[in-house]
């Protein structure tokens, strides 16, 4: 991330450690945007969600669908509001850090304008 983020250090550490838990480096074939990377991580959370809690099991799927729409340029303003509500809830309610971080990453991205209105 190249921007300066004013954020809670503890949260940031957790974000970094969970992203790192993907298993080392992510090798990408081409340049990706930060939004694509965020969606990549949310997909990772959904695919690896243990299924034990509702916000991560179901919520990360919703976020994934909305982020896919965003990347295609099809996300409405209403849906962007929903994405924010989701991210806040998933970030605060999930049972473990996998779900929480998926929520927090999207939350930060929205707060700092990384996911822009198209």
């Amino acid at each position: 991330m190249q921007r300066e983020l004013r954020t809670d250090l503890q949260d940031l550490y957790r974000v970094i450690s969970v992203v790192g838990a993907i298993g080392g480096c992510i090798f990408l074939e081409r340049d990706v945007s930060i939004e694509e990377l965020i969606k990549f991580f949310v997909s990772f959370a959904q695919k690896n969600s243990c299924g034990k809690c509702v916000p991560c099991r179901v919520g990360t799927k919703w976020m994934e669908v909305l982020l896919e729409r965003y990347l295609k340029g099809e996300l409405s303003a209403e849906e962007k509001k929903l994405l924010k509500i989701l991210a806040e809830d998933i970030g605060a309610s999930s049972r473990c850090d996998l779900g929480k971080v998926a929520g927090k990453i999207v939350n930060y991205a929205l707060e700092y304008g990384l996911i822009e209105e198209k």
Partner: protein, 609 residues
């Protein structure tokens, strides 16, 4: 116990240290909504995240059901963040759920429905995809619809921790995660014992009993069929609950009246055949003790007021301790997990399975009815009874008459839940019905038969008869309080003619497992009789009972069972005149030749553990 002070929604409460926030909130008259939390099975894994609350100083929300309070904690249960979280969790569950509530078997008793109403959910914002799993109809007792599953995992907890059967697992990731039979097999191919506790704890319609009400309607409408119905002991104190009466209310007379109005040709009582079971099983117990522990060939017993000599040589080699055999989930549990110990189980059939062949032989003869036309329906608190009635060996009436057209001894088993649906469909005003009596021949029963519905009841009923048979004396006191109660494993001992008969009562298969592990290890050699009920509380807590069967409700039903026993004029199985009649006119002696061909059975080793 150290006490701590916490503030909940501005109210200060003092609770023992470690109390979950949910319980502390109750003290402040705050009801935090929950969904997956299930107190009586100690299920507090925090799956649904509906009970989340805000704790001052913590950024993230915490679940109230399993977060212990700390001294000085300040908790808020109704902030905008909490309200938004709860609604969203429910919307998430609804987004992948069918919304066909009116045609779902849990319409009106569904906890997801109720929560959506309580939380004023007005929209399902994101579009989820409805799941597309196959319905598992393989078991005769239970139907699984994984598309309705909200992955609360209560069923996994009850099957693994309480019943120690382990037939269900959580499998898969993300939205593909589902609860399924272990290994993804159809339920009938697993070690599921059909106890149905999963269907009791399931908050939605993902696990339900197999609905066989149509078969019963058809039989009732068929003018050719003579349809008889038998009512299990547990149903006598349960059915009223669906019609506004408290659990434990004795609704026997109303139940009979309602069944007659539904159109059954005869209404019989499984309490009657419970008395019959006691005569058979009590005799078997005396025989096993006499033949194996005392080394005798014959023993003198008092039966129906007369001294007779019982030949006990057929019982040689049948080991002690003997276990009861009236619970079909227990039977399958033994077949799956203790196939090496099957000869400990009494050879007696259950009361349900004794009444069936008796109706198609003894009753048919007495009334001059063609046995081919007799259709036997039972009303049971139990899902495993459907499996039991379908067991291939349960066709003894057909063998007796040498007529394959006679079919099963028990044609259809209805759970309490299904009967309640039939009564509602028929518009019967159950709570206001006048009392009616069972039909004769298979209708009179004693308190001993009634107590079969509670854990410890079969044991007590057997002792009431066995004591008098062996000693020739009347019991000084009929109430064997030591075998009553809800303690998981209970012990008692009774002196009978110089032998100290030691007995064990266990309920819930987890407790049964503990006892049988000891039997296998040879540690129970000086015990004589073990009663096992698969369902916590006994049959009144059966898998076919109304879904609101938490422990408090089960306890009320148990009270109702023993109260009815106390009020009945006859309280010992051998005093039942209709039982005396069937032996005099038909069976001759307990464990005699005819008894063996109609009222006794064998078991099938299934597992290899």
């Amino acid at each position: 116990m150290k006490e701590v002070k916490v503030v909940i929604d501005g109210k200060e409460v003092v609770v023992p240290e470690g109390t979950p926030i949910l319980k502390a909130a109750e003290k402040a008259q705050v009801k935090i909504p929950t969904l997956c939390y299930c107190e009586w099975i100690k299920h507090d894994i925090g799956a649904c995240r509906v009970c989340v609350v805000e704790v001052e100083g913590q950024k993230d929300l915490v679940t109230a059901c399993n977060t212990p309070v700390k001294d000085g904690m300040v908790i808020k249960t109704n902030t905008p963040k909490v309200r938004a979280a709860r609604k969203l969790q429910v919307e998430m569950m609804l987004s992948e759920h069918h919304l066909n509530c009116p045609v779902c078997p849990r319409n009106g008793t569904c906890e997801l429905q109720k929560l959506a109403e309580e939380l004023n959910v007005r929209a399902i914002r994101p579009e989820g995809e409805r799941k597309k799993w196959e319905i598992d109809d393989s078991s005769p007792s239970i139907v699984r619809d994984p598309n309705k599953c909200i992955v609360c995992q209560r069923c996994v907890t009850v099957c693994n921790e309480i019943q120690t059967v382990g037939a269900l697992e959580l499998y898969g990731n993300g939205v593909e995660a589902i609860v399924r039979p272990v290994g993804g097999k159809p339920l009938i191919e697993t070690q599921c014992v059909a106890c149905g506790q999963c269907s009791i704890v399931c908050p939605v319609g993902a696990i339900v009993e197999k609905d066989e009400t149509e078969k019963v309607w058809e039989a009732i409408y068929d003018p050719e069929k003579h349809v008889v119905v038998q009512t299990a002991p547990a149903t006598h104190v349960t059915i009223g609950e669906a019609f506004g009466l408290p659990p434990g209310t004795d609704i026997t007379g109303k139940l009979v009246a309602a069944l007659k109005r539904l159109g059954f040709d005869a209404v019989f009582d499984t309490n009657w055949s419970a008395d019959l079971t006691i005569l058979e099983e009590g005799t078997e117990l005396i025989g096993r003790i006499a033949a194996n522990q005392m080394g005798l060939d014959k023993i003198e017993v008092t039966l129906f007021g007369q001294k007779i000599t019982l030949d006990v040589t057929p019982f040689k080699g049948r080991p002690l301790p003997q276990t009861t055999s009236c619970c079909p989930a227990w039977i399958k549990f033994m077949e799956e997990f203790y196939p090496d110990l099957l000869n400990h189980i009494s050879s007696c059939k259950s009361p349900q399975q004794m009444l069936g062949p008796v109706a198609k032989t003894y009753y048919a003869k007495k009334k001059g009815i063609d046995p081919e036309k007799i259709f036997v329906v039972s009303v049971m608190p139990c899902t495993a009874k459907k499996f039991e009635a379908a067991r291939p060996e349960m066709v003894d009436a057909s063998k007796y008459w040498n007529n394959p057209n006679i079919g099963r001894d028990v044609d259809v088993v209805l759970t309490s839940r299904e009967l309640i649906k039939m009564l509602k469909e028929a518009g019967i005003d159950f709570a206001n019905l006048p009392d009616e009596n069972y039909d004769p021949i298979l209708g009179t029963s004693t308190g001993a038969g009634q107590i079969f519905g509670a854990t410890g009841g079969v044991m007590e009923a057997a002792l009431r008869t066995a004591y008098e048979a062996v000693t020739g004396k009347t019991l000084p006191r009929l109430d064997f309080e030591e075998v009553r109660g809800i303690e998981g494993i209970r012990e008692a001992s009774i002196e009978m003619n110089g032998i100290t008969v030691k007995v064990i009562v266990a309920h819930g298969l987890g407790n049964a497992r503990k006892v049988m592990d000891k039997v296998r290890a040879g540690e129970m050699k000086d015990y004589h009789f073990i009663e096992v009920m698969a369902c916590p509380g006994g049959c009144i807590g059966g898998g076919g009972q109304p879904v609101w069967s938490d422990m408090a409700t089960r306890i009320e039903r148990i009270k109702g069972i023993y109260e009815r026993d106390k009020r009945l004029p006859l309280r010992k199985s051998h005093e039942n005149p209709e039982i005396q009649a069937i032996y005099k006119e038909f069976l001759e002696l307990p464990c005699g030749h005819l008894s063996h061909s109609l009222l006794h059975t064998h078991y099938t080793p299934r597992g290899n553990k």
